[in-house]
Symmetry: C2
Subunit: 208 residues, 2 copies
Amino acid sequence: MRSNTREWMISTAARLLQQRGYHGTSLNDILTESRAPRGSLYFHFPGGKDELVVEATRATIGQTTSLLADLLARAETPGRAVREFVEGAAEMLRRSNFALGCPVAPIILDGADASEEIKQVCREAFDAWIGLYRKAFAEAGLSPEGAETLACSVEATIEGLLLIAKAYRDVTPMLRSAVELEASVDAAIAAQAGDRAEPDGAARPAQP
Amino acid sequence: MRSNTREWMISTAARLLQQRGYHGTSLNDILTESRAPRGSLYFHFPGGKDELVVEATRATIGQTTSLLADLLARAETPGRAVREFVEGAAEMLRRSNFALGCPVAPIILDGADASEEIKQVCREAFDAWIGLYRKAFAEAGLSPEGAETLACSVEATIEGLLLIAKAYRDVTPMLRSAVELEASVDAAIAAQAGDRAEPDGAARPAQP
DNA sequence: CATATTATATAGACCGGTTGTCATATTTGC
DNA sequence: GCAAATATGACAACCGGTCTATATAATATG
């Protein structure tokens, strides 16, 4: 007896959700592609579609978080890690024929009537990613407020680049902006490292 | 006889598409909310759902494009216009209880199997918006390449900010990043205005 | 003014797809 | 060989998009 059915379903669902969002992914699609029968789904996921979606989204988010943490830990500068992450995402997008982008964006935008738990999982994803950026930026010398704001901007830019690349089915603009983003992040860090004694830590933009 | 049925349907569809994406918006929803009977749809839109979606999306895109063009024309600096645009979007998001974001993002992300024409309309939206930014940035002194790259980055950041704000149901981070974005854009323009005679116009990032 | 003709609007039937449930079969561990 | 765990596919109830037949308003025509 196949004991990995559950995992199969999760990974298939994760892939389809990433490609087509919450409403665009039907249980039939998942069952057909994972070659599992209908009833098995409700044995492994008594909560039905929403429970499966939560598990699948969590799994994808975990992978992305690990990758990002790894890149930030290894790279020479935070900006470099950001660029490498975007380049990796571009490669994934290209290889999948522009199907695989951000795992949570499609769910946030089309899953307005999805369960509250699903939305919570999506928020946790942003918490994790923005948190990693913030930590890296702060360790590189940015003020807490500057790191927070820049982290949010960086995450936003990456999300938007994935969206635009998918729309055009072309990663060229994404790669150009990635270079710019690297420079921008590292410049913001360098600038703040210069003027430590500056009095106002308020709304002053982190990028000069 | 009500002769505005068609317009009613379009505006209702536009709103719902913005909130729930392509698959998340059913004809039943549109018909119920616009208080129109079922059959009328296929009289006004013989192409069915996809034709209605195209019309509705075009309408919303047109409004956004006009607003953006207006802001860019009036504002003192391009960066200022960008900030004002983001602030306006944040206000719209807040007022609509975080339902109304970008009109094309949900369709791009969940409408993989939508008609080719729909995807084309979404691309045209980005063409228009990025084109407006590029023109404004170039007129302010940026090189063509720099303006193009920065325009794409700005559009991407705005898309991402809308997404993140919707996920958190909170526009605070969006507004903080908007201030940063204004500074970043205007700084990039000022920097390039300084070194006109620089030899390499290649992949040098526009933001110092 | 009466009638014919066209343009617009409406109601509801249709079929396929979607989710969730069930009774039953099969495997596994002991 | 037995009990628990898992697998299976048929089924019901519902919802989706599409279509056809009909009703009503607008306009033209004699």
